[in-house]
């Protein structure tokens, strides 16, 4: 089956260029960075002795949920940035180098081409996020306190949908421009605009996927899955499909020079 052939080729490529190793590691490092430094900061400051005699530093220790949210926060920033960077050349790079022409001369369906690329990237992202959140959870449990495994699992599920949207946006932009750097720039601009709009009109756009990580925070604290989270996740899913469909249509109508 053609779809599976392309999918396997993408997996092999990401294995050979070592993405399968370094992307999960970097996600893990992003996720554990904040909880660990927060926990040890007061102790480190004590040890270094940089605090003037008599002054009392009173850094409130976050609770387990808050510590966990730090991980989500970092992944939502740096993780998204890294995702944009690893997806920025998946199609644009092939068009730019010319290998795309070779592939196109075979009876390749654009739907297969785009969706196989999407899912192969999502597989790396899902595994990286799972390892990152899992490791962060482990440290939070040791340093801060317990959180339900179900809550972690559910939040991971919603977070993955948010990343699916990010990947879809970058894939869509990939079909517009040939320069990977510009693809990254425009994708980030779109994501930022999306987030800013959500911040401004947050009271209306309660279904915005940009709110997913806020909702995850509330859920981790309360354990209650509010309906807005489901709707935001649904929107992320729908928008992903729309972006991918756009990418397919753009490629189909693309003029080759």
């Amino acid at each position: 089956m053609q779809w599976f052939v392309i999918f396997k080729k993408e997996l092999l490529e990401n294995w050979r260029n070592l993405k399968w190793i370094w992307v999960p590691i970097v996600f893990i490092l992003f996720a554990v960075m904040d909880p660990i430094t927060t926990y040890y900061l007061p102790k480190i400051m004590d040890a270094v002795g940089g605090v003037p005699e008599g002054s009392i530093i009173d850094l409130p220790m976050p609770n387990a949920q808050e510590a966990m949210m730090m991980s989500y926060g970092e992944l939502g920033m740096l993780g998204v940035l890294l995702t944009v960077v690893i997806v920025m050349s998946t199609i644009s790079g092939e068009i730019k180098s010319g290998v795309y022409e070779m592939i196109l001369s075979k009876p390749v369906k654009f739907t297969n081409y785009v969706s196989a690329k999407f899912l192969s990237i999502m597989l790396i992202i899902i595994i990286s996020l799972a390892l990152a959140i899992g490791t962060a959870w482990y440290y939070v449990m040791i340093l801060f306190g317990t959180i339900d495994f179900t809550r972690i699992l559910m939040s991971l599920f919603f977070f993955t949908l948010y990343f699916a949207l990010i990947v879809s946006i970058v894939i869509m932009v990939n079909t517009w421009i040939q320069s990977p750097g510009l693809v990254a720039f425009i994708s980030l601009a779109l994501i930022i605009i999306f987030n800013v709009l959500t911040n401004i009109y947050g009271h209306i756009l309660t279904w915005s996927p940009a709110l997913i990580s806020d909702y995850i925070g509330e859920y981790l604290a309360s354990g209650v899955l509010i309906s807005e989270l489901w709707y935001a996740a649904l929107m992320a899913f729908v928008f992903s499909i729309v972006c991918l469909q756009f990418a397919i249509v753009t490629l189909r109508n693309r003029v080759l020079h």
């Binding site: 370094w22 590691i25 970097v26 893990i28 490092l29 660990i36 040890y40 102790k43 040791i142």
Partner: protein, 64 residues
């Protein structure tokens, strides 16, 4: 002293991951014939800048 030992034990997995990242970047640098920019600069970046160096190399240093 107690705190330091605990700290090191706790951070051990992280340190190992960091070392894997570092060695992957170095292996890739050696294996690749061409990089974006001089190799020795990338070697310095990877070794001297903690965590961020290898990441930057893996993203920007390799030729597509």
């Amino acid at each position: 002293m107690e705190i330091n030992r605990d700290l090191i034990l706790l951070l051990l997995p992280i340190i190992i991951l960091q070392l894997i990242l570092l060695s992957i970047a170095i292996i890739d640098l050696i294996r690749n014939e061409q990089t974006n920019g001089p190799k020795w600069i990338w070697a310095l970046v990877i070794i001297l800048i903690n965590i961020v160096g290898p990441i930057i190399y893996l993203i920007f240093g390799r030729r597509p």
